[in-house]
Symmetry: C2
Subunit: 459 residues, 2 copies
């Protein structure tokens, strides 16, 4: 049989599995000068944003279905599900909290790769930290390290890997979760390499799932798989020490582009969590500039009643990812730039309520989104949007958004993150408990044991 | 940013997710005429061979490590680990039994794709059947259906998918396990499609892991993921109904070759389990012809002491997969055609003991395998081997094996499978209990509840 047994093969890759393992196992933590106060503050912002998203979606039907399935295993009560009263084993908690944190598409974004890094990493390491009674400092250290691993691997493979069909959050998230859990468990370099190796065989997630519960399942499954990879390695389970970089290893198998220097360059000096961003709007990041632009039109006095049509010019990726013209429900609306524009012009923002089934099916919203005429212009960056409101009286009002609110160039403030957290958590935990929880998040690295914070997340 | 957003894209794929879901949910079982007695007997052979392998490796260090990690989750005692006294939750049992069944590389092989189909499928559905008290008939029906799904998807993607780096047993096994469990749970077509869809986001396994514990981890992780996908779907969790075939679905993401007719042609008439084979030797299938040839040399009176060199001519894939010249231990020796030849000539066969660390490091074995001179000849089929023993006295003894024992053309008999089972199980369960267990396997489809058979697998 004629066979092409060398579809891809770079035999000269640097030993990145070993390099990352040594970094994870031996890089000094924050208190030993491992990274700057600015980086460490960003880690707190990432943790808090993750937790708010998880609490907010705690009772979504996706969480209910996942918990019902997990309960068929009669899990031990090891770890908390933020926003719920039930406890499950730590691996199942990693799964479910990863699902809830991404259910509203409201979590963090590493913009260079469109990875949502906290879902896999924080969900895994928080469950492990709670069950083992780890300190908040160890938790945050592990979060910084784990996110660096998943985002660096993402940098190396992006965009080919993503373009091929992988939901890069899940496919790199398993590695980040394994790294964070290996760090928290204090595994040595050799066992950490095994944890990364076991994780490398478990990339999760296809983009075809966008718009279904399996999209948020991806960070959940990645969190679970990463945690289990670290537990397996801790017990002596073995994997290839070249599992990431070998010709038949993970990275060459799932991506035709692998820029190894993205993993090795400034490792331990530049931290990818520094480039994390947080969404003001509860939907895919590529819709944000369009919502922001329409919200600016509203601020300029344009009302839905005045609209003849909205001319929207965006990069082709925006329509590929969020081109649903007639979303049937809230979940689909998160992948509809048309609904995003209608919400921006109608409400001036778009949190979870503005993506509810009820709002999405309101006749005025349906009518308004049908007036959006989207065209592709690849001269416009993915992070920008060009919007012109053509009014019934013939006037044209133009807004160009280069960097939407929530971008690196225009980030949400700590106070805005507090407000976002309240918006997500107040309906679940109440405003008072939410206030306490927010305070606990900002000071989590001073907590001797993360279980007090975990307890605050229960209703 | 210039982007190639269409690395692969076949927008005209038939709806194979839906087609397979309907087949899984509605095809008649054996008693209703769904397949022939010959097919059904092969399913019993597949089940028995799987169970023997799992029992045999029950106390391997890989099983110990995996169970130690699982025990950190404090699992409920829902399902048996054949060969061990402990019980764990059914998903963890699927994981561990998938690992043990593949640890010795002694399990079944679907030769067209090199898929080892029972590991993922039987491990998942047996754990579910035991916990739910299903009948043996339902178990065997689900096994036939599940293996058909994984092998048909494998047929569609092979060989490109495998050549790219995927361990096809794990990457298609998740789908087979999900299908079998959906069938056993009695899910309708729509929910079965969701189960397949959730599973489609979780392909497991890279070939770089061969020679480490993570290789047998692949069928285990696939079994676990498939079972959980079915449980999630049963509770209303959703996925894309085109998760397999869409341009950004699983199959186009992980393979550049997708022959959809391999899935649809004669579906429900031809069953891939008919083409399953069982190994007489405890190693990768591609070494079998070489071992068989050397065993034939031994039968002709050639002894190790006479050897100057062994000239071995094989297909390039044989050396790519099993080219380890100096295996350091038993696990590595399973990927050494050199050791395989030495064992064949020395012992006339190569069961698990002949791949022990002790035998692998014996000076006479080291010396003999260094006398094997392997050369690539792609005119020779992967399933064949051409061996010439060049003796110290100058004589040349030639053996050509076209189809090794254990191949479809030269299958093991039922009695040989019994003997293989005894060889694996007697040291673990004792000969008497093993005899009872073998009888229970051959009659499993008459059992009203599989739990009696499960109990027999405990020491």
């Amino acid at each position: 049989m004629a066979r092409n047994t060398q579809v891809t093969a770079d035999h000269n890759a640097p030993p990145v599995t070993q390099i990352l393992a040594e970094f994870v196992a031996t890089h000094p933590g924050y208190l030993a000068g491992g990274w700057s106060a600015t980086v460490d503050h960003e880690a707190h912002r990432t943790f808090m944003n993750w937790l708010g998203c998880a609490v907010g979606a705690a009772h979504h039907e996706a969480a209910d279905a996942a918990l019902a399935a997990v309960n068929m295993l009669q899990p031990a009560a090891q770890a908390t599900l933020p926003g719920r009263s039930e406890k499950v084993d730590m691996a199942s908690a990693a799964l479910i909290n990863g699902i809830t944190s991404h259910t509203f598409d409201f979590d963090d974004t590493h913009l260079k790769t469109i990875i949502h890094p906290a879902g896999p990493v924080a969900s895994a390491v928080m469950a492990l930290a709670e069950h083992t009674g780890a300190s908040g400092r160890a938790l945050i250290d592990a979060l910084v390290i784990g996110i660096d691993v998943s985002c660096r691997v993402g940098n190396a493979m992006y965009p080919d890997h993503y373009d091929r069909g992988w939901h890069i959050t899940g496919s790199t998230g398993t590695l980040g979760a394994a790294a964070a859990c290996a760090r928290l468990l204090g595994l040595d370099t050799q066992k950490t390499a095994m944890a990364l190796g076991i994780a490398a065989s478990q990339p999760v997630g296809m983009r075809e799932q966008f718009g279904t519960m399996t999209k948020p399942f991806h960070p959940g499954a990645a969190a679970r798989a990463g945690l289990m990879s670290a537990l397996l390695a801790s017990q002596g389970f073995t994997a290839s020490p070249k599992a990431l970089e070998a010709p038949r290893g993970m990275m060459q198998t799932v991506s035709t582009k692998n820029d190894w220097t993205e993993i090795t360059h400034e490792l331990g000096q530049r931290f990818e969590i520094s480039f994390n961003s947080y969404k003001p709007f509860a939907c895919g990041i590529v819709i944000h500039p369009s919502i922001d632009a329409c919200a600016q039109l509203r601020a300029q006095g344009v009302t839905p009643e005045q609209i003849d049509r909205i001319e929207l010019k965006v990069h082709s990726l925006v329509l590929e990812l969020t081109g649903k013209k007639e979303p049937a429900d809230g979940l689909q609306a998160k992948f509809s730039v048309y609904h995003g524009c209608a919400a921006g012009l109608t409400f001036g923002f778009a949190a979870e309520d503005e993506f509810s089934d009820e709002v999405v099916n309101r006749p005025d919203m349906v009518a308004l989104r049908r007036k959006v005429v989207a065209t592709v212009d690849d001269a416009i960056d993915e992070a920008s949007a060009d919007v012109t409101a053509v009014l019934l009286d013939g006037r044209r009002v133009h807004v160009f958004v280069e960097h939407a609110i929530g971008s690196l160039q225009n980030p949400m403030s700590d106070a805005q993150l507090d407000a976002k957290f309240h918006g997500l958590s107040d309906p679940v935990l109440g405003a008072d408990k939410t206030t306490d929880l927010i305070a606990a998040c900002w000071s989590v690295s001073q907590a001797g044991d993360v279980r007090a914070l975990a307890a605050l997340t229960q209703p």
